[in-house]
């Protein structure tokens, strides 16, 4: 801003803001855990109703051989679903962009697939597909639409004059796609992928829970379902904690990838003062 301020004061204020943005949520977390601990302790709530944070942590460590293996399974499913969603969403968006008739024909069904709750589709998928494929298919169905929708938006929001320039210099379709449309769509595409990361975890969890009764699954969501039948509430919390952490890490990783890919040129990745 134009108001003259001591740059040192400005820097100190910025540093303080950064610190607050980390310190405040951490403080909230600590407060919640402390309150949780004392509510359980003072009311003498038994662990099969509500385990305290200490019990959850101990369970997490004690059950790690089981939970760790389940975490790997769930993450592997999520990754496969995410990759399928990313590849499928981007490929479909490019196809739609190249052929309007294809878009007219298929887009309504992509939307129908998106608005139909996946938890209702999952049991059917489990009947018709091998279980691991069905789980990946669920993750794909939940996650591909934001990639498709965002990439389509990006491909269509190319600067009109830049498009004119490509036309003027006789660019082929492939050249326009590779040199203009895809780079211009990249920020949108990455936004879609960021949403898809979290959604593919949800898809994997939904499918695991749906498959749970079939018995062969060993993912974290299956552990939650299983623990629920056995009233092993501390393990439910421990598995839930791991799922939540997995979601946070996935989101963080994709945000990082997006930042690294865009930081050189895109507004969203630039500092506020540039």
């Amino acid at each position: 801003m134009s108001v003259a301020r001591d740059p040192q004061t400005e820097a100190r204020a910025a540093a303080a803001t950064r610190l607050l943005r980390i310190a405040l949520p951490v403080a909230v977390l600590v407060a919640v855990v402390v309150v949780w601990h004392f509510v359980v302790k003072l009311n003498d709530i038994p662990p099969y109703l509500l385990p305290g944070p200490g019990v959850v942590l101990r369970t997490l460590i004690a059950d790690w051989p089981v939970l760790g293996a389940s975490l790997v399974t769930t993450l592997w499913t999520t990754l496969q679903g995410f990759l399928a969603a990313a590849a499928g969403g981007i490929a479909l968006a490019i196809l739609f962009n190249q052929s309007r008739y294809l878009e007219y024909s298929l887009l309504p069904y992509a939307i129908i697939l998106q608005v139909t709750p996946v938890i209702a589709i999952a049991p059917l998928l489990l009947i018709y597909l091998p279980q691991d494929t069905a789980v990946i298919a669920c993750a794909f169905i939940v996650a591909f639409f934001p990639v498709l929708a965002n990439t389509t938006l990006g491909l269509n929001s190319v600067d009109r004059n830049l498009a004119g320039l490509f036309q003027l210099y006789g660019a082929s379709r492939a050249q326009t796609l590779l040199r203009l449309k895809l780079p211009a769509a990249l920020p949108y595409m990455l936004g879609g992928l960021r949403i898809a990361g979290g959604l593919s975890l949800i898809g994997a969890v939904v499918a695991e829970i749906a498959a749970g009764s079939a018995g062969a699954g060993s993912g974290l969501a299956y552990r939650i379902a299983e623990s629920s039948y056995r009233l092993n509430i501390p393990r439910m919390f421990a598995a839930l904690l791991l799922l939540s952490l997995a979601g946070i890490v996935i989101y963080g990783l994709l945000a990082l990838v997006s930042h690294l890919a865009l930081r050189r040129w895109h507004e969203s990745a630039l500092g506020k003062d540039t």
């Binding site: 004059n161 830049l162 004119g164 003027l168 006789g170 040199r179 780079p183 040129w265 895109h266």
Partner: protein
């Protein structure tokens, strides 16, 4: 000075020989059938610097897009170097838009190289031509910069370098300096004139500034809106070099006054 009535006769092939751009009976209609432009008849000689001057909405940008082949005329013909515009050589035209229109993800070098890359020119040739074009616009040292790191004037220079890099016969410029501050605009005006004197390209320069049109061009074509038509044209007489001295000279002021008057007259005729 040619009067509105007198101008209907087509300007005979201008001195200098070859006609670079020829428009005959060119019109452009909107989808609803409302005529936005024309009929337009215009000859621009090879190596000539012509300014299309008029208020917003008079179709001067549309005329430029028709010449570039970015839009198709509803009727009439556009010829470039005596060929129908549809069959023009690929490198015949350089276009500079009102905005710099750069790819934000590519460096200055990448942006300027674009037309050559699209034409699949050999790598060594691209490097040499890009260096040459950047040197011409004074941006040799900024080759690796990204557009966001450049000022408005520098971005416009990149845009100009990109238009020049294919060594086109015809340079079409759509109010390229309108968004710049006056000091930068004056400097770019002078640099453009230097380039034109060195390279002798045919330049069609769209502007809504009377002062800019008289300062830059050999011929000012005054257009009126609804539908866009040519109302008058002036040959700008100046034996003296176009520089800061010319900008403050009596002759320059007198010609600007004449062009302004014609513009006002054309607008009032249109209103009547």
């Amino acid at each position: 000075m040619v009067d509105i009535a007198a101008q209907t006769a087509i300007d005979p092939a201008p001195p200098g020989g070859a006609v670079a751009v020829r428009l005959r009976g060119v019109t452009k209609c909107y989808r609803q059938g409302v005529r936005a432009l024309g009929p337009l008849d215009l000859d621009v000689a090879a190596g000539e610097f012509v300014a299309l001057l008029g208020p917003s909405g008079c179709g001067k940008s549309t005329a430029l897009r028709l010449i570039a082949g970015l839009a198709k005329p509803s009727s009439g013909t556009v010829e470039l170097n005596a060929h129908p515009a549809a069959r023009r050589g690929e490198h015949a035209i350089g276009f500079v838009f009102q905005e710099p229109t750069l790819m934000p993800w590519a460096s200055v070098r990448g942006n300027v190289a674009l037309p050559l890359r699209l034409a699949k020119a050999p790598r060594a040739e691209i490097a040499a031509r890009v260096d040459d074009a950047l040197t011409r616009v004074g941006l040799r040292d900024a080759a690796e910069a990204l557009p966001r790191e450049l000022s408005g004037g520098m971005k416009m220079r990149v845009s100009l370098a990109r238009a020049l890099v294919t060594d086109p016969d015809i340079l079409l410029m759509d109010e390229p300096f309108a968004a710049l501050d006056e000091i930068t605009r004056f400097r770019l005006n002078n640099d453009l004139l230097t380039l034109w004197r060195e390279l002798r390209k045919t330049v069609i320069f769209v502007t809504h500034s009377v002062f800019e049109s008289v300062y830059l061009s050999q011929r000012v074509i005054v257009m009126t809106p609804k539908p866009g038509r040519i109302a008058a044209e002036f040959h700008v007489a100046s034996d003296e070099p176009r520089d800061e001295a010319f900008r403050t000279s009596v002759g320059y002021a007198a010609q600007c006054r004449e062009v302004s008057a014609a513009l006002a007259r054309a607008s009032s005729t249109e209103a009547a």
